[in-house]
């Protein structure tokens, strides 16, 4: 990163000056009121420190930092004195030089007044030369060590930058002046540095997208008409800054405006300089993909169809750029984080894109880049510096994206030795530089955990468990209330569930979140990795639970930070998937019903989906938990909840521009499916559970209506409900309401009972049989009255085989109860074979982040 610098007018004869004041005497001059003496001293100081590390250390020891900051920080009022500004400019340049030194020296600059003094220069009216000097110093410092909360710390910074960019763009296009270009280039370099995390980039987006777009668009137009060679640098930094702050909504607005902008960017992919090619590729990727890879939640992404075509152009461009950095390393480092980051975003799109990258040897190239940063997977504590950290995190992100959809690539990633790097990263000390690396490591872990085979083999050996639990535990929970309080609350009335601290005002909450946002991002990524590790067939499940992860997950589910709440709820859902009653009990002991019910009504539709899926999994094959749900939440409340979810309709987008809404629509359907399966599972419980379903006609009516839903998953769930409600209980189970309540009943497959058992069963009261036969019949009649029979008739023609098959079963069961003619013999055979309890096949919900069976 280099900046050209202004040639100040007052410099002639300077070379003689160095000998005029002995270097030891410089500092007193800085402290005097004599501006000319101050300026001369500053010039001498500048020339004696640039390139001289020992001098820098010595001056810092003697307290020069305070003097410099005092000079930079004093704004003059009244009559403008050019010497005054010259002093501030030179002081700023000297400060910038201190930033270029050994980390031991430069880290001494990160004392509180430094950044605020420099930021102040930007937020006041400052002459361009001073702006350039301060911006340069600020970017150098931030490149060395990112200060994540800079935009939060200085709330006016984004607005000031936005105004400066607008002002200097106008000036630049009107009268192409060198200083304007310098200010703009530095401003654009600063933008990604003040908002390094995804959330901070989003927070400055509304201020900065407009002016940056105008600047980029203007420079694309002007470069066709002017012969200026230098503006490629301004152009590329502006394009990168725009790519950094772009939100999906803004991206759609830009692409919807027509192909002109895109075409201009495509032309830049053939620009002679690498910076321009890279920036164009990065912006095109940001425009046509769904976002940055480290932030997408565990759910699938919605893909723009154009990206597949675009990737055919972008991948070769980026691979060539990457190859160049490997062939001719910059400052001894192979690879460029921006290239890898862009490739990672593209690879998330899957399919052709990843195939092309892997064919071009990307996995091996990334590993060679990782090895140079971390030879033998060893990181000395605290020795990952910002630049290495970025390279490492973008490399890992790229690996995680490559393995997302393909088992072979996951295998290749493991074989290349990535897992030991991941474990090593998770165990390094926490510094600002390692935060992003840890997030990326979690993403690799999550990708690898999608493979059942890897989960059962390599991952077991590797010390993943300690690393991931430590990551979740590192950041203190944002709420300090006792994590286990709900253990005692199981069974208490729902009034106690809402334990939000009432005294906290909205602004306080916001401030609290801001402080910890970066830590929350790490926990969110770790939680995403945990999701698959805690599934019931994972050998890591027990060790992870034994390490005490549950309180951490539950506290994550309470978080106000939506991505963490989502991933935590997701992890909980996976924990209660399957038949492991011990784990279910353990989860419920920590979680408690009040929280999960609250999550079912979360503002975020995806959290609702996970929370409802949690209940779906909890009640699957478990009458105990159906009872527990009813006892704790109340039967009517459960049905009210389901009723309200079944009635959920996505808000239809009014026009094309509201595509944001379109992208959430799949989640509405998923919420309906999850809610419907809760009913399926309740209906698979004891007879008295089925009675509760029959008693709630409003819900049944919804189920019957939804049998015509466009999504086959919804239709299938509805048919399962009918099957389970028309199921004729075997005689020994019928009085279960009294006798076997509370027992864990394992549903046997048809024919699973031995002949002795059957004999015994037949000897049990025939009275009960008659009594219950009436109940079954009444249930079936209710369903018929609500129109289920007609709907089933319609579903016989369903395009989906599974729906058609289950429909036959439902019709058979219903008709036998209400005494309709039996279906044909052939059909009957099919049906007998297919007869089974809904719960056997329509069991848990874990399919969403898994591909585990792929």
């Amino acid at each position: 990163m280099n900046w050209m610098f202004d040639h100040f007018p007052i410099l002639s004869g300077l070379s003689k000056f160095a000998s005029m004041i002995a270097e030891d005497d410089l500092l007193p001059y800085l402290r005097r009121d004599d501006r000319h003496g101050q300026l001369d001293a500053l010039r001498s100081l500048k020339n004696s420190v640039i390139g001289h590390s020992d001098q820098k250390a010595s001056y810092l020891d003697r307290g020069v930092l305070d003097d410099l900051l005092a000079i930079i920080g004093t704004a003059q009022d009244g009559v403008k004195d050019p010497i005054f500004d010259e002093c501030r400019i030179h002081a700023s340049v000297v400060l910038g030089s201190f930033a270029y030194s050994d980390p031991e020296i430069s880290s001494r600059l990160f004392t509180p007044p430094t950044l605020s003094t420099l930021v102040k220069v930007l937020t006041q009216y400052s002459p361009p030369a001073l702006l350039v000097a301060s911006l340069r110093t600020l970017t150098t410092l931030l490149t060395l060590r990112l200060t994540p909360s800079l935009v939060q710390q200085f709330p006016h910074l984004a607005k000031s930058l936005s105004e400066l960019i607008s002002h200097y763009s106008t000036a630049c296009f009107a009268n192409y002046a060198r200083q304007d270009v310098q200010v703009l280039t530095n401003l654009c370099t600063l933008v990604p540095l003040i908002s390094p995390s995804h959330s901070s980039a989003q927070s400055v987006s509304s201020e900065l997208t407009g002016p940056l777009f105008d600047l980029v668009y203007g420079s694309l137009k002007s470069s066709q008409t002017s012969g200026i060679v230098i503006d490629s640098k301004l152009k590329s930094t502006a394009i990168l800054a725009l790519a950094h702050v772009l939100t999906p909504t803004a991206a759609r607005e830009i692409t919807a405006a027509g192909p002109k902008f895109t075409n201009a960017l495509l032309a830049l992919l053939r620009a002679p300089d690498t910076a321009t090619r890279l920036s164009a590729a990065a912006l095109l990727t940001a425009l046509y993909t769904s976002g940055r890879p480290e932030t997408t939640s565990t759910s699938g992404v919605t893909r723009a169809p154009q990206i597949t075509t675009l990737a055919l152009t972008l991948v070769p461009t980026l691979m060539k750029l990457l190859d160049d950095t490997i062939a001719a390393p910059d400052h001894g480092r192979k690879g460029d984080p921006r290239i890898l980051h862009t490739l990672a975003i593209l690879c998330r799109e899957g399919g052709d894109v990843t195939d092309r990258c892997v064919e071009a040897g990307l996995i091996k190239k990334i590993v060679s880049i990782i090895v140079q940063v971390a030879p033998n997977n060893h990181f000395a504590p605290g020795r990952i510096f910002e630049s290495d950290g970025k390279l490492l995190s973008s490399s890992l992100l790229c690996l995680s994206a490559l393995g997302l959809y393909n088992e072979d690539y996951r295998k290749a990633i493991i074989e290349a030795g990535a897992l030991s790097v991941v474990v090593a990263v998770m165990n390094t000390a926490n510094t600002p530089a390692t935060r992003e690396v840890k997030i990326a490591a979690c993403h690799v872990l999550r990708t690898l955990s999608r493979s059942v085979r890897l989960l059962r083999t390599t991952m077991v050996e590797s010390g993943v468990v300690c690393g991931i639990v430590d990551l979740l535990g590192e950041a203190p929970s944002e709420e300090e209330r006792p994590l286990l309080e709900n253990v005692d609350n199981v069974g208490n009335e729902p009034e106690q569930m809402d334990d939000e601290p009432v005294h906290t005002t909205v602004t306080e909450v916001a401030a609290e979140e801001d402080e910890e946002e970066e830590d929350l991002e790490v926990r969110t990524a770790a939680m995403a990795a945990v999701c698959n590790l805690v599934l019931d067939f994972s050998p890591l499940r027990k060790p992870i639970l034994d390490k005490g992860i549950l309180p951490l997950v539950v506290s994550g589910a309470r978080s106000r930070y939506t991505p963490l709440r989502l991933n935590s709820t997701w992890a909980l859902k996976h924990m209660v998937f399957g038949d492991d009653m011990e784990t279910k009990a353990c989860v419920m002991a920590h979680l408690g019903f009040p929280l999960i019910i609250k999550l079912c009504d979360d503002k975020e539709i995806q959290v609702q989906e996970q929370a409802l899926d949690f209940l779906r999994n909890l009640t699957a094959r478990s009458e105990t938990y159906i009872d527990m749900l009813f006892d704790n939440v109340g039967v009517d409340e459960v049905f009210r909840l389901v009723d309200c979810k079944l009635s959920l309709l996505p808000v239809p987008p009014i026009d094309e521009s509201e595509q944001e809404l379109l992208s959430t629509q799949p989640y509405y359907t998923k919420v309906i499916i999850a809610a419907a399966y809760i009913i399926v599972h309740i209906a698979a419980g004891y007879d008295r559970h089925r009675e509760t379903v029959i008693a709630h006609e409003a819900v049944l009516r919804k189920i019957v209506q939804l049998m015509r839903h466009e999504n086959y998953g919804v239709r299938l769930a509805c048919v399962w409900t009918i099957i389970n409600l028309t199921w004729v209980e075997e005689p020994n189970r019928a009085p279960g309401d009294v006798a076997s309540a509370g027992q864990i009943h394992t549903v046997s497959p048809a024919g699973g009972h031995s002949s002795e058992q059957l004999q015994q069963e037949q000897n049990i009261s025939s009275f009960a049989e008659l009594y219950f036969a009436d109940i079954y019949r009444r249930r079936a009649m209710t369903l018929v009255r609500l129109g289920a029979r007609e709907q089933l008739e319609y579903l016989k023609q369903d395009p989906v085989l599974d729906v058609r098959e289950k429909t036959k079963t439902a019709i058979y069961q219903m008709d036998s109860l209400v005494g309709r003619p039996s279906p044909s013999a052939e059909d009957e055979q099919d049906i007998e074979a297919g007869l089974s309890r809904g719960v056997d096949v329509a069991g848990g919900a874990m399919q969403i982040d898994s591909e585990l069976h792929a």
């Binding site: 990163m1 280099n2 900046w3 050209m4 610098f5 202004d6 040639h7 100040f8 410099l11 300077l14 070379s15 160095a18 500048k46 020339n47 640039i50 390139g51 001289h52 590390s53 020992d54 340049v93 910038g96 030089s97 270029y100 030194s101 340069r136 150098t140 009268n175 192409y176 002046a177 060198r178 270009v181 310098q182 066709q224 008409t225 002017s226 012969g227 200026i228 060679v229 230098i230 503006d231 490629s232 640098k233 002679p272 300089d273 910076a275």
Partner: protein, 241 residues
């Protein structure tokens, strides 16, 4: 250059694939039909003048062609002054000018800084050995303060420093060739060229003018046409120079 008579088989009979070719007139009119905008042409010329360092020509051209003055244009003068200072052996002045033009350059480029400092040391040695009873103290103190610690950290710097210090031990008129080249003005020119390149690179200016790339592209296209056995008047660089 008109189409040459072909003597290949079948040349006498009616040709199946007619030979493609262009007379000079046809060729020129084809070339003329490609419209190159005035702005693009001006940009190309300006680019050439800036990169090749023709400052006054560039300034005049910018005025005449009404091109807004460019960043690189302003710095031509700075670069020339720095070069002149190094050529003259005024290394301290050159360093200070570099620090004014781009305060980051020497901080981020320790090799370049070292070679400038070594050049400065050589100048001090030159001064000290010029007279019979020259004071050796400034040489020693400069070497200790500015070069010794760098040489400790970098073996290549150490070798260079040792070799430079050896200049003090021998009379100027009977130096070994290895040492004599340190005193030769060509070392100054070498360092000056490196400084110039580093400044240009920091400004994001390509070291080669766009026009040179275009000439190479023309050559490539001519070759491609020849392989297709197309006959056309080729570009003679002498004619356009």
């Amino acid at each position: 250059m008109s189409a040459a008579a072909s003597i290949g088989p079948g040349a006498n009979s009616a040709s199946i694939t007619p030979k493609r070719g262009y007379s000079r007139e046809q060729w020129e009119s084809k070339l003329d039909s490609v419209k190159v905008s005035k702005a693009n042409l001006n940009a190309l010329v300006m680019n050439y003048l800036i990169i090749e360092g023709y400052q006054s020509a560039a300034l005049k051209f910018a005025q005449e062609a009404n091109i807004s003055s460019s960043v690189a244009l302003d710095s031509i003068d700075d670069r020339m002054q720095i070069r002149a200072a190094i050529h003259a052996g005024a290394i301290q002045e050159a360093i200070e000018r570099i620090n004014d033009l781009n305060p980051e350059l020497l901080d981020t480029n320790p090799e370049l800084h070292f070679s400038l400092l070594r050049l400065q040391l050589i100048e001090l040695i030159r001064k000290c050995t010029a007279s019979a009873n020259g004071d050796i103290q400034p040489v020693l103190s400069f070497a200790t303060t500015h070069l010794a610690s760098r040489a400790q950290k970098n073996p290549a710097f150490l070798t260079d420093l040792e070799r430079t210090m050896a200049l003090l031990c021998f009379p100027q008129d009977s130096l070994a060739p290895q040492l004599a080249e340190l005193m030769d003005p060509s070392l100054r020119r070498q360092v000056a060229a490196r400084v110039n390149e580093a400044i240009l690179e920091a400004q994001g200016v390509m070291r080669e003018a766009k026009m040179r790339g275009l000439v190479r592209l023309w050559g490539w296209a001519e070759n491609a046409l020849r392989q297709e056995k197309v006959d056309f008047p080729s570009l003679d660089l002498k004619n356009i120079a």
